[in-house]
Amino acid sequence: MGVVLGTLSMHTKQVNFRTDKVDDELEMTMVCHRPEGLEQLEAQTNFTKQELQVLYRGFKNECPSGVVNEETFKHIYAQFFPHGDASTYAHYLFNAFDTRNNGSIKFEDFVMGLSTLLRGTVREKLEWTFHLYDINRDGFINKEEMTEIVRAIYDMMGKYTYPALKGDVPKQHVDAFFEKMDKNKDGVVTLEEFVLACQEDENMMRSMQLFENVM
């Protein structure tokens, strides 16, 4: 249980044969993390034991050390979007999953996030999305944050799109979004405004249900 610190430390960069200090730097620090028990995770999330097992096996195979850091995460996410550049969006996504803000995702974070997204209530999903958009975690989404998110999403599309991306399409998208969401027109969107506006949107509610059987 809990975090186990390996005691082998290795500095990969210092194998510069010009200095030939490899002997001394054959030590490697490996942060190994083990998740809490299966029972606890089952209680905390909306997954069954089997699902958790499957999830963990995949997770462990990819990251034997038990944690995912941002670089690995970006790399993985980028593989799904070879057309464009997914690194910015992956960064925001990583921050959304990394609830404890320590630069790495453990299995618990991973599974909690997934539980919210796949098996949570509508309100929980909207809250999660709100936290994704609220980059600086101040409880408000302002135009700059939204613009960054939208730009990151458009970056994933890459260059070759139809119709071609020209002008400031992200900006227009952001303006449209604010039109819809910002009820009291004060320039920021709060969680309540967000949830209300989304619940009024029929299309979105319907789409949300589609994602339930992803796992």
């Binding site: 005691t7 299966l38 034997p64 994704l132 999403i153 071609a164 949107d201 299309n203």
Partner: protein, 632 residues
């Protein structure tokens, strides 16, 4: 796509919930996954090999995977066993660790595979038993060095310059890698030539020339043609000084540069000349001045910048410093011992050469290195006995460290050979990656064309039967992204066609003002002129173009690994534009395509009204298309 990535796909799809509030259109229906997840378990153990052990055995090490509750995640209820999809051969060693308390390293396995297994099972390599520790460390060091060469080759100096380099950085780069530009190469060869000239002049200077008229004695050429040699020396020193100052100016860290070996050699090579200039023609001092001239021979070391082999040799000596030190130390010890013995043995002889112990040093050295000049020989019997012992031991003492030095040299030399091979392999690898990337991007577009989104109707079943569920889900994810942004993915050809149709429309409505260079078309089709060439080209060209595009995408990927701040976001898009500008494009209008007279880069005069000359049309040199470029 890597098989391991499949495990992350559900996660990526779940994260698509984050797009929903932004989506302009409704999301498409996801594909129905008929397979139940639990079926993926194979009812075998560690890939088929069954192991049995006590629970206590595993509990001995509670901070490993098998010893903690983590193994519950791998428990299969149906077969009542723990299943691990790992290498069964390696697992044997892992399990033996639990049994005996000692971890052994199997010599026939790859060190990295072994390390990965250890990482997976949560075992720390420190506890490898003493019997196998040496081997493990050696192999690991070797592997790391090899990997370091890989990364060095990747970050190597052959990468293109970052676009925002100052002239100082460029200069430094030109000095470090003469192959990057022709100017640097020219400078490189010129300095090499002058080094050679300088060294030869130094040598020839001392050769006796025919004496001038009216003198019998042979004069060294240096004194006969003093002026000529002085001029040559001055020229060389000027070049070297200039080079040194340039390097000093361009160096990113001046202090570090000044401390480096090559710079010290440079200074030592040119100092004698300046000291000679400064010093007066004094009798006493000129003796010292002559000594200084000896230092001019150090100019020959400047060749090490030009020769890889010299550098390797120098580096070998440096890395074998300990062996060389040992050699020196043991030789000194032996010399002193034998010199003392020889001195006392020969002390009685009349007229002996062994006048003192330091005088005997010469004899000992000459004998131990088996030179045997014969200018000093022992006469007494005792002296001869000790003399023979001396020569025998000399052979041994010198022979011992030499193989170590030789093996070091050979290792470093081969490493260098390998570096070149690595670079070639790297290119092949990159090409393969590009091809794979193209494959995945094309797969999605093909999927769309085949109308995959109409759902799995029976008429579509034929087309879609060859796709795995992973591909279906992945395409669904990409489709969701399209719906979110209300833009669709296309490929290059369609994109270029669209851009062209738009631009032709533009030409009639806008005037050609240079000032509006940053027209809308830059973001849309910065490589429009290039794209046009594709349309009329054969497929081979589009492949090469594709490779350039892939390279750019690759570059974008590489450069975008930096900190994700807003400014860097903008910088990245600017990088894209800059990439275009590196190829000398500006916005372009295309006039009516007429049959070309000659290749674009020859035909276009660089007049200010017609900027943006297609300069990199080299790969498309056989797709002639007159591209009259003006700006929007």
């Amino acid at each position: 796509m890597a098989a391991g990535v499949a495990t992350w796909l559900p996660f990526a799809r779940a994260a698509a919930v984050g797009w929903l509030p932004l989506a302009k259109k409704t999301m498409p229906k996801p594909p129905v996954d008929k397979k139940s997840r639990n079926d993926e378990i194979l009812f075998v153990n560690v890939s088929g090999l069954r192991f049995q052990t006590w629970k206590n055995t595993l509990d001995r090490y509670p901070d490993t995977l098998l010893g903690s509750s983590e193994k519950e995640f791998f428990y299969n209820e149906d077969t009542q066993e723990y299943f691990f999809d790992r290498d069964p051969e390696m697992f044997r060693h892992i399990l033996n660790f639990y049994r005996t308390g000692k971890l052994h390293y199997p010599r026939q396995e790859c060190i990295q595979a072994f390390d990965e297994e250890l990482a997976f099972y949560g075992i720390v390599p420190d506890i490898i038993g003493d019997c196998c520790m040496e081997e493990y460390r050696d192999r690991k060091k070797e592997n790391q060095e090899r990997l370091a060469e890989d990364t060095e080759a990747e970050n190597a100096t052959d990468t293109p310059l970052p676009p925002h380099s100052t002239s100082r950085e460029r200069l430094w780069r030109a000095f470090e890698n003469p192959h990057t530009s022709t100017m640097a190469l020219v400078f490189y060869y010129v300095t090499g030539f002058f080094i050679a000239v300088s060294v030869i002049a130094n040598v020839v200077e001392t050769v006796p020339c025919r004496p001038p008229k009216g003198s019998k004695k042979d004069l060294p050429c240096g004194e006969k043609y003093t002026l000529a040699f002085f001029c040559m020396d001055t020229a060389c020193v000027l070049i070297f000084t200039f080079e040194y100052l340039m390097r000093l100016f361009a160096a990113p860290s001046r202090c570090k540069f000044m401390r480096s070996v090559m710079s010290v050699i440079d200074v030592v090579a040119i100092m004698p000349y300046y000291i000679g200039l400064v010093m007066p023609e004094n009798e006493d001092v000129s003796g010292a001045f002559v000594t200084l001239r000896v230092f001019r021979v150090f100019r020959i070391f400047k060749f090490s910048r030009h020769s890889q082999g010299l550098r390797i040799l120098g580096y070998t000596l440096k890395s074998c410093a300990s062996e060389l030190g040992f050699l020196l130390f043991s030789l000194t010890m032996a010399i002193i011992i034998f010199a003392t013995v020889m001195f006392y043995a020969e002390k009685g002889t009349k007229g002996t050469n062994f006048t003192s112990i330091p005088a005997s040093f010469w004899y000992t050295i000459v004998t131990m290195t088996t030179l045997g000049y014969g200018d000093m020989v022992p006469n007494t019997i005792a002296g001869k006995i000790f003399g023979s012992i001396c020569s025998l031991s000399g052979v041994l003492v010198i022979a011992l460290p030499v193989p170590v030095i030789v093996s070091n040299f050979s290792r470093i030399y081969h490493q260098n050979q390998r570096a070149d091979k690595m670079r070639a392999q790297q290119k092949v690898r990159l090409a393969r990656i590009r091809l794979a990337k193209k494959g995945t991007t094309n797969a999605f577009l093909q999927y769309k064309e085949e109308g995959g989104f109409q759902g799995r109707g029976s008429d579509n079943a034929l087309c879609l039967k060859n796709r795995s569920s992973f591909e279906h889900q992945h395409h669904h994810l990409l489709h969701c992204l399209e719906k979110t942004t209300n833009h669709e993915f296309t490929d290059e050809l369609t994109f270029s066609e669209m851009c062209m149709t738009e631009s032709v429309g533009y030409r009639t409505s806008r005037s050609t003002s240079i000032s509006s260079q940053q027209g809308v078309a830059t973001s849309c089709c910065p490589r429009r002129a290039k794209r046009r060439a594709i349309r009329l080209a054969n497929s081979t060209v589009s492949v090469s173009r594709g490779s350039v595009q892939e390279l750019d995408t690759l570059q974008v990927h590489k450069t975008s690994a930096g900190p994700q701040s807003r400014s860097s976001l903008n910088a990245r898009t600017e990088d894209l534009k800059l990439n275009c500008e590196d190829r000398d494009f500006t916005a372009a209008i295309i006039s009516i395509p007429t049959p070309p007279a000659n290749t674009p880069d020859e035909s276009l005069p660089p007049s200010p009204a017609i900027p943006g000359i297609l300069r990199n049309s080299r790969p498309t040199s056989f797709t002639h298309e007159t591209v009259k470029i003006s700006s929007l």
